[in-house]
């Protein structure tokens, strides 16, 4: 057996993948237990029981001040901002990215603008967004859009521009006009790439969401983490981080599944 050609079976793959996660969890518990043996009131590495107790309060008991179930309110607020931001980014990519990629004159016109926006670090724009849009929801959604859309637009436009020239010529010999080429040749081939770009943008989108929430918010997963940090409440922070990770994984899987379901043709080559 050579390492480069070895193909682990399905079970072995699952087992191999689970092993590092288990080792990490075990190492944490051992370290936490050791700290608690020294100091029963340790807050830095809480034991699972303490995390469960702290989270139960956020999950099942309404906050005495606002009457909300904080964990769920945070989750809904964050996912709403994320969804809205990514939705706007996706819609603008469909419009701008597909047209810029398909039509060379439009590419010459808008290409430099998109590039200029894309090279600005989005967090540097955050103060401007807060000043312009205030501290409400709009600024947070706008940060996600500004951070993610230029990448997605460039990715989709580049993909379309790189489609073989022969396809355009062929479509024209089939009687298409420019609109027909965009609608039936370019757009359908851009869609799987768009979902791919959306998937890759999930990571940055979370970063921008949590940054915006950390700075100015009154509800949200990022807001809660940065709030309880003041009390060294690792028993809340760690479950929240794990929850964010789980949400990110689920979204990623959902997008992969959707792409395979909707655009089966794009995945035929990989078999």
């Amino acid at each position: 057996m050579r390492w480069v050609t070895a193909q682990p079976t399905r079970r072995a793959t699952l087992l191999l993948g689970a092993l590092p996660l288990l080792v990490l969890a075990l190492a944490y518990i051992v370290a936490a237990a050791a700290r608690h043996a020294d100091n029963a009131a340790d807050k830095i590495l809480p034991l699972p029981g303490a995390m469960a107790a702290a989270m139960a309060g956020l999950l099942f008991e309404p906050d005495p001040l606002s009457g909300q179930y904080l964990f769920w309110a945070d989750t809904i607020a964050s996912l709403g901002r994320l969804g809205l931001g990514l939705g706007i980014a996706t819609a603008s990519t469909l419009l701008v990215g597909v047209l810029v990629g398909s039509l060379p004159p439009l590419r010459a016109f808008l290409g430099p603008l998109v590039t200029a926006i894309a090279v600005i670090p989005p967090i540097a724009v955050l103060p401007i967004l807060f000043i312009v849009f205030g501290l409400g929801e709009v600024a947070k959604v706008a940060l996600i859009v500004v951070g993610v859309a230029p990448f997605m637009v460039r990715d989709v436009a580049g993909h379309i521009a790189a489609l073989p020239r022969e396809q355009v010529v062929k479509a024209l010999t089939l009687g298409a006009n420019s609109w027909g080429v965009v609608l039936r040749v370019m757009l359908p081939q851009a869609l799987p790439r768009l979902l791919d770009g959306l998937r890759l943008s999930l990571g940055p989108a979370w970063v921008f969401l949590i940054s915006a929430e950390a700075i100015a918010a009154d509800v949200g997963l990022g807001y809660r983490i940065f709030l309880v940090r003041r009390y060294l409440a690792m028993d809340v922070i760690i479950p929240y981080v794990a929850w964010i990770a789980l949400l990110a994984v689920v979204l990623d899987f959902a997008l992969v599944f959707a792409s395979r379901r909707l655009f089966g043709w794009a995945h035929l080559g990989a078999r």
């Binding site: 022969e166 089939l174 298409a176 039936r184 043709w265």
Partner: protein
């Protein structure tokens, strides 16, 4: 039918084609051969309307040829001729949909059913009737080229342009494709212009063989002179009325199950 008058193609300093004057009669099968870089594909692109000649005129039935690609000239490239996101049927339907509805480029209802049966008949002619729901990525190179031919022919083009259409295929498959294109050429009364690297193929299929090469060569400035037509051979040899080869090679399974 198609006539080229004193066509020049230049890319800046580099002269690719010079003084090309040709008359192509309706129903002929013209093969174009020549060494690499002799401008075979450039000539094809000029006739296709994908490129503009720097000098000269092209007329189709006496009228100047539109300087854009259009449905009067079909094309099959060596690769990338079919759309990967459409099924076999979708690829053939596309040509009918484009012309029928400029806004949505789609057909619905009875118009769609009529188009589907027309497309299925065309697929039957190229031997792809059983593959209608496959995507191009699921098919062999030969099947993809069959599809590309069907896709072009559904528009009933006056001229079919082939740019090394069989260059990437296995020799056995290529034989089948030769039989297919010969049959379609005859049945549809097509005018075909084919660029090829394969001299045997050029003579086997064509009724006329053009050879492009440079007439003059300046060793100090190789880009100075372009290629022209150095041989123009009309193959007067009459073809056998019905080549015996194709029917069996296209039918995949002739066994009768009882």
């Amino acid at each position: 039918m198609l006539s080229l008058r004193n066509i020049w193609v230049e890319y800046g300093e580099k002269v690719v084609l010079e003084r090309i004057s040709l008359d192509i009669t309706e129903g002929s099968f013209v093969s174009i051969i020549g060494p690499s870089g002799a401008g075979k594909s450039s000539l094809l692109r000029v006739i296709l309307g994908q490129e503009r000649p720097t000098r000269g005129t092209i007329t189709l039935d006496g009228a100047p040829l539109p300087r854009e690609c259009g449905p009067d000239r079909g094309v099959v490239f060596q690769r990338y001729s079919v759309f990967p996101h459409l099924t076999v049927l979708g690829n053939v339907l596309l040509g009918l949909e484009f012309s029928a509805s400029p806004l949505t480029a789609r057909l619905f209802g009875s118009a769609r059913r009529a188009a589907v049966s027309e497309a299925e008949a065309m697929l039957g002619q190229v031997g792809l009737a059983d593959a209608r729901d496959l995507y191009p990525a699921q098919m062999s190179g030969g099947m993809q080229q069959r599809l590309a031919i069907a896709q072009a022919l559904i528009k009933r083009p006056r001229i079919l342009l082939l740019d090394e259409p069989f260059g990437a295929l296995d020799p056995g498959i290529r034989g089948d494709m030769h039989a297919l294109i010969t049959r379609l050429w005859r049945e549809h009364g097509l005018t075909i212009i084919m660029v090829t690297h394969d001299i045997k193929e050029a003579f086997a299929l064509g009724t006329r063989v053009l050879t492009l090469d440079k007439r003059r060569h300046d060793p100090h400035a190789p880009q100075r002179y372009g290629a022209g037509v150095i041989y123009d051979l009309a193959l007067t040899r009459k073809r056998a009325p019905e080549p015996a080869e194709d029917a069996s090679s296209i039918t995949i399974d002739t066994k009768v199950n009882t």
